[in-house]
């Protein structure tokens, strides 16, 4: 079990998945510490823990880039996809196990590159967006940013090819497309988006490094380039990236809610075709809402206001599916379920506060303020992280064969839930009042100092909650109670094998009955 060589050279999708989980949790810890350092710095006006604004900007860069590229996307499309998809479709492994191993080690290279930020003389300070002209004139190391993005993007692309092939060709007999778990649908859609859009991001970050180091002028208007082109390229990927995070995390939430409410997913086809399909269709037509105050053509801003507002349709259908799955269920308030219900409420706040941000004329007032930061933390960052934590708790008995501690699990959830609402509600509030984002110091907004101090307190609280959860996993994995093969009583295929599943997943190939459905919970 603890043979290091076996883990390094493993091609078993479950071990690759666990490697993804460990790597992304380390990334989460690093990026989380950056957030705490920023909150400490902002707790007073003027220098607090560092007198160097560049130091703060490096924390800010690391927090954003590592949380998104090193934690959320790898945890969702790396860990959950790897661990769950083959088990859910009754496959022995993924289609290309060695490619899978390559992708996880590329991911580690990317994370190590990102962490090296702290050990090089001129770390990148270009924010996770890397907008030129600043990224091409800064003394910070923009190449580091470009290479981190390229490597993590490449890891993600080969993962996408792998999983699309796996689900297309390796489903056990009897698992038709309308019997796939919602999580599998969501993750496939996320990989489709990755395959279409990651190359655009790769182009964008390559071009800024070429501008900076090779003397090209893609983004320099004095030599025929154009500044806005980068922002278009960047957000042409990075808005779909929000759905690359959203889709798998809402898929995880579906799995948790169906299993712990022991209920059929409400209107399965509505969720798959309307929800997941609708998001894939709209994902590439809304990026300009990140550029509402960037100087884009007016007709584009107006046009994408309509498409952005229309995102409410597929997302609304997915919310109806979730609430409908709760309706007349049999809900047990286990720790994973608390996290999943937490996501429902956090996402409700985050989604609704996004509506004004779809409207350019309202965004013109609150763009680039803490309102936006609060909104996207609710809708994507915190909701996604809660889904990841809930998902790890949900499949924890499957991965380890042991049970986590229910008391500490619930306590960790409630502490985190209180913490995030303190931080991000206040953040939205002072954002509307005018507090701009990415400020090392807010000397000309002294009225916000109290609010900043409350947010610092909230950040400390939520950090305690997350730390309790991670400790709970570590202790549970070492000496938790034996959990049995199917503690939640779920008919979904991953629970039909032993815990933890052996190499090859099932002692003998699984088959499913005619009336089997991953959410067909039966009495008794």
């Amino acid at each position: 079990m603890m043979n290091l060589k076996e883990w390094i050279f493993t091609t078993d999708h479950k071990r690759v998945g666990v490697l993804y989980l460990i790597g992304s949790m380390l990334a989460f810890a690093v990026a989380g510490i950056m957030a705490l350092l920023m909150r400490a710095e902002l707790s007073t006006i003027g220098p607090t823990i560092t007198a160097n604004p560049t130091q703060y900007n490096v924390w800010l860069y690391t927090h954003g880039a590592v949380m998104i590229l090193g934690f959320q996307i790898p945890a969702l499309t790396g860990f959950f996809a790897n661990y769950c998809i083959p088990l859910m479709i009754g496959a022995k492994d993924v289609a290309f196990p060695r490619v899978n191993a390559l992708s996880v080690w590329l991911f580690y290279v990317g994370v190590i590159l990102a962490v090296l930020t702290f050990f090089i003389p001129d770390p990148p300070d270009v924010m996770w967006t890397g907008y030129p002209p600043y990224s091409t004139i800064t003394t910070g190391n923009t190449a580091m940013y470009s290479f981190t993005v390229l490597i993590l993007g490449f890891a993600s692309i080969i993962g996408g090819v792998n999983f699309l092939t796996t689900v297309a060709y390796m489903r056990a007999p009897g698992i038709k497309l309308n019997k796939l778990n919602i999580f599998v649908w969501c993750t496939l859609a996320a990989f489709v988006l990755q395959l279409i859009f990651v190359p655009v991001l790769g182009t964008a970050v390559t071009l800024i490094s070429m501008d900076k180091y090779l003397g090209t002028n893609f983004f320099d208007p004095t030599k025929g380039g154009d500044v806005l082109t980068y922002q278009n390229l960047f957000w042409f990927y990075s808005h779909p990236a929000v759905y690359v995070i959203f889709l798998p995390f809402i898929g995880v939430v579906y799995e948790i809610i169906a299993a712990h409410a022991r209920n059929m997913v409400f209107n399965y086809k509505m969720v798959v075709y309307g929800g997941v399909g609708g998001i894939v269709l709209l994902a590439g037509e809304v990026w300009v809402h990140h550029l509402y105050v960037s100087g884009m053509a007016d007709w584009l801003r107006i046009g994408q206001m309509v498409t952005t507002l229309m995102i409410s349709i597929p997302v609304g259908l997915m919310m109806i599916g979730l609430i409908g799955t709760l309706y007349k269920g049999s809900i047990a308030f286990n720790t994973p379920m608390l996290y999943a219900l937490g996501v429902v409420f956090l996402f409700l706040i985050g989604g609704l506060t996004g509506i004004p941000l779809a409207v350019p004329s309202l965004t013109i007032g609150v763009s680039d303020t803490y309102y936006v930061v609060g909104h996207f933390h609710y809708v994507m960052a915190v909701a996604g992280t809660f889904a990841i934590f809930g998902g790890v708790y949900h499949w924890f008995p499957k991965m380890t064969g042991r049970m986590y501690n229910e008391f500490w699990g619930k306590l960790g959830f409630w502490i985190t839930f209180v913490g995030v609402n303190i931080v991000f509600w206040i953040m939205m509030d002072i954002g509307v009042e005018g507090m701009p984002r990415r400020y090392y110091d807010y000397a000309h907004f002294p009225q916000f100092e109290g609010a900043h101090q409350w947010m610092t307190v909230g950040a400390a609280i939520l950090a305690v909650g997350f730390a309790i959860a991670v400790l709970n996993w570590i202790l549970g994995a070492i000496n938790g109670e034996p959990a049995g093969d199917n503690p939640w009583g779920s008919p979904s295929l991953e629970w039909t094998t032993v815990s933890p599943p052996p190499h090859g997943n099932w002692p003998s190939p699984p088959s499913v009955a005619e009336d089997w459905h991953p959410y067909g919970f039966k009495k008794g």
């Binding site: 604004p53 560049t54 900007n57 300070d125 907008y131 002209p133 600043y134 004139i137 154009d226 500044v227 409410a261 022991r262 209920n263 209107n267 086809k269 509505m270 105050v293 007016d298 801003r301 107006i302 507002l309 229309m310 409410s312 349709i313 259908l317 109806i320 609430i323 799955t325 709760l326 309706y327 007349k328 269920g329 049999s330 047990a332 308030f333 409700l348 609704l352 506060t353 509506i355 004004p356 409207v359 350019p360 004329s361 309202l362 013109i364 007032g365 680039d368 009042e433 005018g434 701009p436 984002r437 990415r438 400020y439 090392y440 110091d441 000397a443 000309h444 907004f445 919970f521 009495k523």
Partner: protein, 261 residues
């Protein structure tokens, strides 16, 4: 293009907006166009709407959760099986509900957008060059100021903006408006300072190490005071440009530095 957008918006608004909003626009007395006031109005309306939706949604969800808690006699879920018709209905009806909310919001947002983009004819045109880390304003008569823009109350002000280095965004929280400036393009924003007073200007687009310190002020003066101030500026400008044979560059930075306070 603007006219087209305006006509489209008016059409949508006529279809979707309630009659009072329409009537208010048709009042005959001369109306002061104030985007900031309209922004506050629409913002409040949208916030009230999403609060109502959110609270209703949360209450229904909480009620479902409580009703469906696991207890003796409720060991397994019993969600109703949907007939094909009701399954389709659960897609089509929500789509219409969401789409109507979307289009209503879009129509309102579009009307406000036109307010923010159509600059009144009686405007004061100011050129703005942003740079790391200052706002440099130039008045039509050549007067220049830095980090401090003095404008007369009651006159709409439009800024034609560009940047000499990185991205910047001229954000005036009190007037609810910002727009990025960048090298190679000219962008604009306008606001209507109705009352004398002082307003913070701050940079809203990450522009470099000192981004958080890139601040300025807009000072709105009563028209007479503004005229007096401008006269003084013109005089000192003329005085500064008399020794044009001398190296003029030497006087300019000194003047800008003096303005900073």
């Amino acid at each position: 293009m603007h006219d087209k957008i305006r006509r489209g918006a008016a059409g949508l608004a006529a279809l979707l907006l309630a009659a009072p909003a329409w009537a208010a626009g048709a009042k005959s007395e001369p109306k002061v166009v104030d985007p900031a006031r309209d922004w506050d109005h629409l913002w409040r309306e949208v916030i009230v709407d999403i609060t109502i939706i959110g609270v209703l949604f949360a209450i229904v969800t909480a009620w479902f959760i409580w009703q469906a808690r696991r207890r003796p006699g409720n060991e397994v879920g019993a969600s109703p099986r949907l007939s094909p018709a009701s399954a389709v209905g659960w897609v089509v009806i929500p789509i219409f509900v969401f789409l109507s909310i979307d289009l209503y919001t879009a129509a309102n947002g579009w009307v406000l957008w036109n307010t923010f983009r159509d600059v009144p004819a009686n405007r004061l045109e100011i050129k703005l060059e942003a740079g790391m880390y200052s706002w440099d304003y130039t008045y039509p008569n050549g007067v220049r100021t830095q980090n401090q823009l003095v404008v007369p109350a009651g006159t709409p002000v439009v800024l034609r903006m560009t940047s000499r280095d990185t991205l910047h965004s001229h954000y005036i929280p009190d007037f609810r408006v910002k727009e990025d400036s960048m090298p190679g393009r000219i962008t604009y924003l306008w606001f209507n300072p109705t009352k004398p007073g002082e307003h913070v200007v701050t940079c809203a687009e990450y522009c470099g190490v000192m981004h958080g310190y890139m601040a300025g002020r807009i000072i709105v003066k009563a028209p007479e005071e503004y005229a007096a101030w401008m006269k003084g500026e013109e005089t000192s400008l003329a005085a500064a440009s008399i020794p044009a044979v001398e190296p003029a560059t030497a006087t300019k930075p000194a003047k800008l530095a003096a303005k900073k306070t």
